[in-house]
């Protein structure tokens, strides 16, 4: 029982970290209709940024998020503006797959040049601290990450659902022509939206660098998980991706702790398959009337 509860705690904390990473991915995938294979690479870029800034300034990595967020935002905007915008709207969704994959490779290459491929960790001194609560270990960093991700998701949700900017982002994606006719600068909005999705990796990258050793190639492991979370949650459903991330975290932790880690991803994939077969739009994907 102790083991089960500890696994639940670990799983939800890890799930929180993935939710943080997936939030931007969900935004980009669901709302911008871009399958961003570079999201994992952006997370790693942010990890390195935090790492370097931390080494230079000694400031707390969580504080550095304030600096890294605008940098990641600009990186995202630039990616959208120079590489994704030129794609033809008809097949942009599919071609974005290729472009973002190339971006991921490019980022990996650039990082390998600057940082070599040594595994790095961000170590402010408390990265492995845990609170002992009734005999269970609650890792500090993951706990902060959990709170941070809930806060970020809340902000994202409000931004998209309740503000004029959010409306213009959604409008642009759903019908760019008519958004343009209503005075939305759809190019700027798309770039901004993509930048926003990428800027969430700043926080995710800091947390990732705190809890796991990383190198430029680490993005490969991230991306398939992020995609699965996004799909399981229902593309574009931010709340759904949180639930999916938690499901993944808890499921993997339980199977790893109780059965065997070699079957933990397998179990998760089976869950994903079953969910998709029953609900092809994911857990929280909305059913739309479509062309009927």
């Amino acid at each position: 029982m102790h083991l089960v509860i500890q696994a639940l705690i670990l799983g939800s904390l890890t799930g929180g970290v993935y939710a943080l990473m997936a939030s931007g991915q969900t935004l980009i995938f669901g709302i911008m209709k871009v399958i961003n294979l570079a999201q994992g690479a952006f997370v790693i870029v942010a990890s390195y940024l935090t790492f370097s800034l931390f080494q230079m300034t000694g400031l707390d990595p969580f504080l550095l998020i304030v600096i890294t967020t605008p940098i990641m935002f600009i990186l995202g905007v630039a990616t959208q503006w120079f590489l994704l915008k030129p794609l033809r709207p008809d097949d942009a969704a599919e071609l974005s797959l290729l472009v973002t994959f190339a971006v991921a490779l490019g980022l990996e290459g650039a990082l390998s040049l600057f940082y070599k491929t040594t595994l790095r960790s961000i170590m402010p001194g408390y990265e492995n601290h845990s609170w002992t609560v009734w005999g269970y270990q609650v890792n500090e960093v993951r706990f902060y990450a959990f709170l941070l991700s809930i806060a970020m998701l809340g902000i994202l949700y409000l931004l998209l659902q309740k503000t004029k900017f959010g409306r213009s982002v959604r409008a642009t994606v759903q019908n760019p022509m008519s958004a343009q006719l209503l005075g939305v600068n759809s190019k700027a909005v798309s770039a901004f939206g993509f930048g926003l999705g990428v800027s969430t990796t700043a926080a995710a990258g800091a947390v990732f660098g705190l809890i796991t050793p990383f190198n430029p190639g680490s993005h490969y492991d991230l991306i398939s998980r992020l995609l699965t979370i996004v799909v399981l949650g229902g593309m574009g459903a931010i709340g759904g991706s949180v639930i999916a991330a938690l499901m993944m975290g808890v499921g993997a932790a339980l199977v790893s702790a109780l059965a065997s880690p070699i079957w933990s991803d397998f179990t998760f994939f089976i869950v994903l398959l079953l969910v998709l077969l029953i609900r092809p739009r994911g857990l929280f994907g909305a059913k739309v009337r479509g062309a009927l």
Binding site: L98, G109, I262
Partner: protein
């Protein structure tokens, strides 16, 4: 087939068939083997991912299936070295049969979800390859017996088998384009619900395309496993293989006959050459990514469609002029 088309095909395959007789260096043959391998993979992927618009990311699962099939049967002895090739049709048939129930379930979902479902399939197969140790050797890998071919012409048999597989894949691709199957697939790609509603045998054509597609991929996997000589789960069932075929198809042009081949003939040599020449300086990833982006920006729909579109537009102007 148009006259130009016949000439193109005969020249292409003619040159490739004669090439090993004149070209001796094994490194050239080796490079061509990988190029042909990816041409075939991309052409086969195109059947389902291009014509039907179902972007499978799980082809590497079948590729790996083929590799293990050969690896398991020919672990210790292969006679004169040609037996693994002879058994390939059986490999393809088995993969095709297995794919039918899988495809039936996976293609019930929407197309973007299909991509994720199939990549999930890939990871599941990889996990199985790791964990079914008794059959696959697990993480220890599985060796295939060494073929007794003359080192001076070692690559030649593999080369010709890959070439034949490419011919098969392209013939199917050509047939798809020219038959009602192809037309039905195009309709499925454009609007599947509507296609269903006008009585097209949607499920059947999708399954035919999927089965043929992965059947070929599995045969290529078999040859690969044999050529490589040693099969590890992470290399045989590797998402990068899938991504490779997808990239090449997109690059050359989806749903075209020559696009996937063109994509492979550009990307494979470029990739292998960059890794060989510049790899040590770590510029290779950057160079590879840059080439990619430039092509995507200049020829956003893939090379062939962009070119044919230009031609089509010229034709349209001509039509208008005649009006």
């Amino acid at each position: 087939m148009s006259k130009a088309g016949i000439i193109r095909a005969v020249t292409f395959f003619g040159i490739l068939a004669l090439l090993p007789l004149g070209v001796k260096p094994q490194w050239v043959i080796n490079l061509l083997i990988f190029t042909l391998m990816y041409s075939t993979l991309a052409s086969s992927w195109n059947l389902i991912g291009g014509y039907a618009g179902y972007p499978s990311l799980g082809h590497a699962a079948f590729f790996g299936f083929g590799a293990y099939f050969i690896g398991i049967i020919f672990e210790s002895s292969i006679g004169n070295g040609y037996n693994p090739f002879l058994i390939l049709p059986l490999v393809g048939l088995c993969a095709g049969l297995i794919s039918i129930p899988i495809g039936f379930i996976a293609m019930k979902t929407r197309k973007d979800v299909f991509a994720i479902v199939t990549i999930t399939l890939l990871f599941m197969v990889q996990t199985l390859a790791y964990n079914l140790r008794a059959v696959t050797g697990g993480a220890q890998g599985k060796g295939v017996a060494v073929p007794p071919f003359d080192p001076a012409n070692f690559g030649r048999p593999f080369y010709y088998v890959m070439l034949i597989l490419l011919l098969v894949a392209m013939s199917i691709s050509f047939y798809f384009r020219r038959s009602k199957i192809g037309l039905s697939l195009a309709a499925v790609r454009a609007d599947e619900d509507k296609a269903h509603g006008v009585g097209i045998q949607v499920t059947a054509v999708k399954l035919i395309a999927f089965a043929l597609s992965v059947g070929i991929a599995s045969m290529v996997g078999g040859v690969w496993g044999y050529y490589e000589g040693f099969i590890y789960p992470q290399f045989a069932v590797d998402p990068l293989i899938t991504i490779g075929m997808v990239l090449m198809t997109f690059l050359g042009g989806r749903a075209t006959l020559w696009g996937p081949v063109l994509g492979a003939f550009i990307l494979v040599p470029a990739q292998q050459y960059f890794a060989y020449e510049f790899g040590a300086t770590q510029f290779y990833l950057l160079a590879y990514a840059a080439i990619f982006l430039i092509i995507m920006l200049v020829l956003p729909r893939g090379i062939l469609p962009t070119l044919t579109d230009r031609i089509r537009i010229k034709a349209k102007i001509a039509v208008e002029a005649n009006k």
